[in-house]
């Protein structure tokens, strides 16, 4: 591991505080979040360590890690944290920042899934499962993964062939447009 010199300009920590309305200094590194995390075993770095990296200014290590992407957002950590630090929210902010800073994301598939999911929301105002599956598979080229579970899901009515359209479809689309504009002006 390389040697780092921490600097005063804790920009990323500040940005996270801005996005999540909570300061990373709240965390006192007890490790309860990592202890209870259901996907901890698939992560390259423990969740509490990601907070530690941000506290110390090791931003690159935090943003490059697979941990924020593997975080399922189940909020077990947020519920249990003795300092009431919302770690799930924090992970969300780290993912956003990783994209904003153009960091090469380790978990490309997960990123593609997120994008496919948002795309469905943008188009139909809610998740369209078949479309999501199709888009995800085309993006990742994992064409035949989990195919065997499809018939059962169709039988149970979990996969509808046609999208379900909501009433405020236009309003949802507007949210996407406005968010994109906001991002544009910020840059």
């Amino acid at each position: 591991m390389t040697t780092h010199t921490s600097t005063h300009a804790s920009t990323i920590a500040d940005e996270i505080a801005e996005k999540t309305f909570q300061d990373v200094s709240l965390c006192y590194q007890c490790g309860k979040c990592s202890a209870g995390c259901p996907v901890r075993y698939y992560m390259d770095v423990a969740p509490n360590k990601i907070v530690r990296f941000i506290q110390l200014g090791f931003y690159e290590e935090a943003l490059k890690s697979s941990t924020p992407w593997l975080c399922a957002g189940c909020q077990t950590c947020s519920t249990r944290c003795p300092q009431e630090f919302d770690l799930a929210k924090f992970m969300d902010a780290v993912r956003e920042l990783a994209l904003e800073k153009g960091v090469k994301v380790k978990e490309q598939d997960i990123l593609k899934f997120h994008k496919a999911f948002l795309h469905q929301i943008e188009n139909f105002g809610r998740a369209y499962e078949v479309g999501l599956v199709a888009e995800y598979k085309l993006k990742t080229m994992h064409l035949f993964d989990d195919v065997d579970s499809a018939p059962g899901m169709i039988m149970k009515g979990k996969l509808k062939l046609l999208p379900h359209v909501i009433k405020g479809r236009k309003a949802v689309k507007d949210i996407f447009i406005k968010t994109a504009e906001k991002k544009q002006t910020k840059k």
Partner: protein, 665 residues
């Protein structure tokens, strides 16, 4: 001689294994026994009444109670004997519980042993002499050694209770380390503001005799009756004439020869000085080692400017003796000296942190002075080397403590808190500055303490890094602090402008020598030992000597104050009666037999044996004999066993009594 025997069943405790009625029957046949009974609970009220009634009705001269250990109920039965009109020391106990029923299973054998023990006790009690409790007068004056916050609190408490106090302080002023502190955790109130009123109160208290610039030289005597010799060092100023105007201090031409120890060496002081402006008493001291007058007899500027003719160059140390009843040790602590590192020294320095080599690597008390409004920088953050405001400060905890290799394995207890305070004070004054704290664990037990540390981290943005720093070195005008964050598992390097070492509290200089002078035990670090770590934390093992504050172990201010008040309360318990009562189980010397070899003196662990001269009618010394001081003798019997002429006897356990007991077996 009429003896009564009383056998107790102790409920089932004795009765289960010992056939008590049989023991009682057997005892009836012992020579001298005129009355023998057994009863379920001898210590109960009816049981005691049985004893009292028997003594009165049968005219008993002595009694034997076969029951539990004398530790448990000897007092009870002796009191019953006294109530019925016989000397309490004519009551003996046979231990039929701890020595018989609790350790044996076989009823037959246990009963036989109980009978034997009872017979032995009967044979002993036949030879018992009536004894009277020893009464020792109490001098109701307290000596407090050390004038820091613990000593001040103890002195005020005792004096406010109406007893006289002698307060001895080795420095020219009272106040101790607390007077050096800037602000105090966890409330951040100014240390001097809360301390100085108490210092003045001590000075003005009619019951307190304040002796500054003085040291305890000799302690003789025992609880309630100490004779203490105190050396008053020569101030070379006539305290009765000096008004404390300070003209001699301002005019003294020797300005830069001596470091100001109150400012922790970060400023100079003249040859004539008071430690700090708020000193109590406000009377200067002339430092012989730097004053020109003591070198060549010249100068004497102070003499010329003093309008009161108070300068006394020829003043000598004075020895004063005081009669004292109780002593409170409140000698405090000193800071681990990180610069000292001779190889044979117990204290090994921290060369790796560059203290003494880099001017901007300072210790905890130096930081206090920099942060203090009355300090050398008037409370502005200026680093010692160039007076610039440090923009990045690193605090390193556990320097000197929790480090076996440096000789101190204990936790210094207050450093976590004072480091959080230091970092906070720095951030309060230097808003764009950064504060880093390297710690191993944060130990912040105490009311509002953990909240205080979290406040430093969450509100003031102090950055805490878990890990011990390995090295501090200079590079391009910066101090590079090399550490590791063990939580992130990443090496951390910080380019600091100033480094503050959270140095440990260690025992006061010469603490062990003072402990030997006063006669109390101390641990391997030089901290004074308490009599019991849980139940008697205030008392030393020597009667009448109490402990207060950091002289016992590292302590913060509230703990020191609490301990001081507790020590004051202990002296008041002692002063509650005019006479101290002691068991008369002490050694007695038969002066006719004593040959004056004084082997007993050599072996006595309590220094209780003195030399007494036997004179004839004309006052000519015929011989010297041993004499036992009742106040000091603890009745251990070592002298009795050592005496070659068998002329020392332990009262209540004479050779005759012991041999009779053995013969009865």
């Amino acid at each position: 001689m009429k003896i009564g025997v009383f056998i107790c069943h102790c409920g089932e405790n004795i009765g289960r294994t010992v056939d008590c009625p049989r023991v009682s029957k057997a005892a009836e046949w012992f020579p001298g026994v005129v009355h023998s009974v057994d009863y379920k609970y001898m210590c109960s009220d009816p049981g005691q009444n049985m004893i009292k009634d028997a003594i009165r009705e049968k005219g008993l001269d002595a009694i034997v109670v076969g029951s539990c250990s004398p530790h448990m109920h000897e007092k009870t039965f002796r009191k019953a004997a006294l109530d019925a009109g016989i000397n309490p020391f004519l009551c003996e106990m046979a231990n039929l519980r701890e020595h018989v029923s609790w350790v044996h299973d076989d009823i037959e054998e246990a009963t036989q042993k109980a009978i034997d023990l009872t017979r032995m006790a009967v044979e002993k009690v036949k030879r018992n002499q009536p004894l009277a409790t020893i009464k020792v007068p109490v001098t109701k004056r307290t000596l407090v050694i050390g004038g820091g916050i613990a000593g001040i609190q103890a002195a005020l408490d005792v004096a406010n209770a109406g007893y006289e106090v002698v307060l001895v302080e080795k420095e020219p002023s009272i106040g101790g380390h607390m007077s050096q502190l800037s602000e105090t955790f966890p409330t951040l109130d100014c240390s001097q503001c809360i301390l100085t009123p108490r210092m003045v109160e001590v000075y003005q208290h009619p019951k307190i005799k304040l002796m500054t610039y003085s040291e305890v030289e000799k302690v003789e005597g025992f609880i309630g009756n100490f004779h203490v010799t105190i050396r008053q060092k020569a101030r070379h100023i006539d305290a009765s004439k000096c008004t404390g105007c300070g003209l001699c201090i301002t005019k003294c031409p020797i300005r830069k020869k001596a470091f100001n120890s109150f400012e922790e060496g970060m400023a100079y002081r003249p040859a004539v000085y008071v430690p700090f402006p708020q000193a109590v008493p406000n009377i200067p001291v002339i430092d012989e080692t730097v004053c020109t007058y003591y070198k060549n007899g010249k100068c004497g500027v102070c003499v010329k400017v003093c309008g009161r003719e108070a300068i006394m160059f020829d003043q000598q140390d004075k020895l004063v003796t005081e009669e004292i009843g109780a002593i409170i040790m409140a000698t405090g602590y000193k800071l681990y000296d990180i610069s000292k590192k001779p190889d044979d020294s117990f204290i090994k320095g921290y060369g790796e942190y560059g203290y003494g080599k880099y001017k901007d690597v300072i210790d905890g008390l130096q930081f206090e002075r920099i942060a203090s409004a009355s300090g050398p920088t008037s409370g502005e953050f200026k680093r010692p080397s160039d007076g610039k405001e440090p923009k990045k400060v690193v605090f390193i905890q556990c320097v000197g403590s929790r480090d076996d290799s440096k000789g101190f394995s204990y936790c210094s207890k207050i450093c976590c808190m004072y480091t959080a305070k230091h970092a906070m004070l720095y951030k309060h004054k230097v808003h764009d500055g950064e504060a880093y704290v390297f710690y191993m664990d944060i130990r912040s037990g105490g009311k509002m303490y953990e909240e205080f540390v979290r406040r430093a981290i969450e509100e003031d943005g102090v950055k805490y890094v878990r890990g011990r720093v390995s090295k501090v070195y200079e590079q391009n005008g910066k101090y590079i602090v090399k550490g590791e964050d063990t939580i992130a598992g990443m090496p951390v390097e910080i380019e600091a402008d100033m480094v503050v070492l959270a140095t440990a509290m260690i025992a006061q200089e010469n603490a062990s020598t003072l402990a030997q002078t006063v006669g109390i035990p101390y641990d391997k670090y030089g901290f004074f030992n308490e009599a019991h770590p849980k139940l008697r934390p205030i008392e030393s093992t020597t009667g009448g000597i109490f402990l207060a504050g950091a002289c016992q172990s590292p302590k913060d201010i509230p703990e020191s104050v609490a301990m001081a008040s507790a020590a004051a309360a202990k002296t008041m318990v002692l002063f509650g009666s005019d006479m101290l009562e002691r068991e008369p189980v002490v050694a007695r010397v038969n002066e006719l037999l004593c040959g004056g070899c004084f082997y007993c003196r050599k072996v006595c662990p309590y220094s209780a044996i003195e030399v007494r001269e036997i004179k004839d009618r004309n006052g000519v010394v015929i011989k010297e004999v041993a004499y036992v001081n009742d106040g000091l003798c603890q009745g251990c019997g070592t002298c009795t066993a050592t005496c070659p002429s068998k002329s020392v006897e332990l009262m209540g356990f004479t050779n005759e009594q012991i041999f009779a007991q053995i013969a009865a077996l």
